[in-house]
Amino acid sequence: MSNVKYILGHFEDPDEMMHGIDKLQENNIGIYDVYTPMPIHGIEEKLGYKRSRLPIAAFCFGITGTLTAISMIYYMLVYDWPMNIGGKPSLAMPDFVPITFELTILFAAYGMMFTFFYANHLFPGRAPRVMDLRATNDRFVIAIDAKTNPYPDKIENLLKEAGAVEVMHNERKYVSYE
């Protein structure tokens, strides 16, 4: 039993990488993930990814912001310390709109950002999880879980046939920790 955890196929061309994905899928080899230096159209559908749930988080944070703004203004200007401003009623709804809008946006934006960081394990002091550093530069990388997919030689041949310029057998998952 080898210690190889992940097999990484490096491609120089996105079309060849897409072709490689097809080849692997035809041979029932499960793909762990694909890393590319730029977004590639249609790759999510090909890999069968579910749609991101980030918009739901954004909506929840936005609603929280709206309620925070309304209750805050209501407490300050209507309940706790009503003031006569230009003869307007204390509960002057048009006045509340800009602040409510701003807090909605603020909560949604920051909430979305922190949700994204949390989901991707990105926060200050945390070493980023990168399986192959060249995938952030000039290579298109397909990662295959070697523990669940037997026959590493067959996988290597398939990747090479599809046009992989380099196939790596990594014994650890994230190189960026080294």
């Binding site: 996105p14 079309d15 072709h19 159209h41 249609g42 749609r51 918009p55 230009g86 003869g87 307007k88 048009p94 006045d95 709109v97 800009p98």
Partner: protein, 411 residues
């Protein structure tokens, strides 16, 4: 991207304007003509000619705005070098080609309304600038250097001519591109579009001040120009989206897919919010400052005969698109988007109604044969002229440099 360039789209496909579309648009025009005749000759109400003129101005302005929005959309796509819209660019081009005719109609309506004193009588009245005359109005007399009949008409002719010339030049470049190919025409239209957008941006507010805001010449708002621009762009976008969807339903334009429709949906969603933003900015400042010369505008629209419509305007033009089009799926469902766009087109009729009616027929507001008939008539006129232009050229700009990229558009 190398491998998937084979497609089966027929870029020389041409729209065939016949059958039901032609019959119904001609019937709509006849309804419009009948409604105008009814409004001028048969309507028993005392304000009948003023009411008919107000409706003609409303629809004439709406019609011109939708066509101008087509030219604006076209120029915007060229200046931003957008690829996604390359496949559907013939539709705003067809709008732009109708702009000269729409401009002439608007000019005739404005001039006839002005000289028959059915429109713009707040500032165009015998002796209104003469001290001692019974009609003398000090506020208007101060504005007479700008608001006088000759200068008003000169401005209107000047703006509409410029817009029409640019609209025709831009479509001409695209048609020539079809014949000769290459990038020369695209590069030229890029420059022309940039010049057009600058001119359009600075002159549309003045156009709106003249045609609509001067109906109530004592009131003024600097937001009004942008408010009208937002209404113009959103109604133009809705008209483009409706046309694209109906053409697709009729089996045309196989190269336009859900991704392009989704982008149009995003545009409609975003500019509905933009319209609300501008509308509310104008409202909030006037409400907060509470100065009588400004609040009079909303005071009139808060009277019982307009109050319901005032609220309905916000519901249709803001709440409906925001709530219905918020999710990604809704923007990709063609029928939902079509329904929202048609609702918004009606909503912006109501928006213009609320801009025009309180300054013309005031409390004698009515909603009946004249309003509905003239609306239908202009919808028919627009459809007829636009589809006639659309049928003249292939539905795809086959030598557009970004057409290939547009086919692969994916969001």
């Amino acid at each position: 991207m190398g491998t998937n360039n084979q497609h089966t789209h027929n870029f020389t496909q041409q729209f065939e304007f016949s059958g039901k579309a032609k019959t119904w648009s001609l019937i709509a025009i006849l309804i419009g003509v009948a409604a105008i005749a009814y409004g001028f000759l048969l309507d028993p109400a005392e304000y009948h000619s003023e009411r008919t003129f107000a409706n003609l101005l409303l629809m004439g302005y709406y019609f011109t705005c939708v066509c101008a929005a087509g030219a604006f959309f076209l120029a915007l796509q060229l200046v931003t070098q957008s690829a996604w819209s390359a496949g559907l660019i013939r539709i705003p081009q067809a709008f732009a080609k109708v702009l000269p005719i729409a401009s002439v109609i608007l000019l005739v309506i404005c001039a006839a309304g002005l000289f028959s004193h059915n429109l713009y009588h707040h500032w165009n009245l015998e002796g209104i600038t003469e001290v001692g005359n019974e009609h003398y109005d000090a506020a208007i007399a101060k504005k007479a250097g700008f608001l006088n009949a000759p200068f008003f008409l000169i401005r209107l002719v000047f703006f509409l001519t410029i817009y029409s010339i640019f609209a025709l030049v831009l479509t001409r470049f695209s048609d020539r591109e079809d014949l000769v190919g290459g990038l020369a025409n695209y590069k030229k239209s890029f420059k022309i579009s940039a010049i057009f957008l600058v001119i359009f941006g600075f002159t549309t507010p003045i156009w709106a001040f003249d045609t609509i805001m001067s109906l109530e010449a004592h009131w003024f708002s600097t937001m009004f120009g942008w408010y009208n621009f937002a209404a113009m762009f959103i109604s133009g976008l809705c008209a483009i989206t409706v046309t694209v969807i109906l053409l697709k339903k009729a089996g045309y334009m196989s190269w336009v897919n859900h991704n392009h429709i989704h982008d149009l949906g995003k545009f409609v969603f975003a500019f509905s919010i933009f319209w609300t933003y501008i509308w509310f900015s104008q409202f909030l400042l006037i409400w907060y400052a509470n100065m009588p010369e400004e609040t009079v505008y909303f005071f009139k629209r808060w009277e019982p005969e307009y109050k319901l419509w005032f609220w309905l305007n916000i519901v249709i033009n803001f709440l409906a698109p925001v709530l219905i089009l918020m999710t990604r799926d809704a923007k990709r469902r063609t029928n939902t988007l079509l329904a929202v766009c048609i609702l918004l087109l009606c909503g912006h009729w109501l928006d213009y109604y609320l801009m025009i009616m309180p300054g013309t027929v005031e409390s004698n507001r009515q909603f009946g044969i004249t309003e509905l008939g003239i609306f239908i008539g202009f919808v028919g006129l627009f459809s007829f002229l636009m589809m006639t232009q659309l049928a003249k050229k292939p539905l795809a700009a086959k030598n557009h440099p970004f057409l290939e990229e547009s086919l692969h558009h994916s969001i």
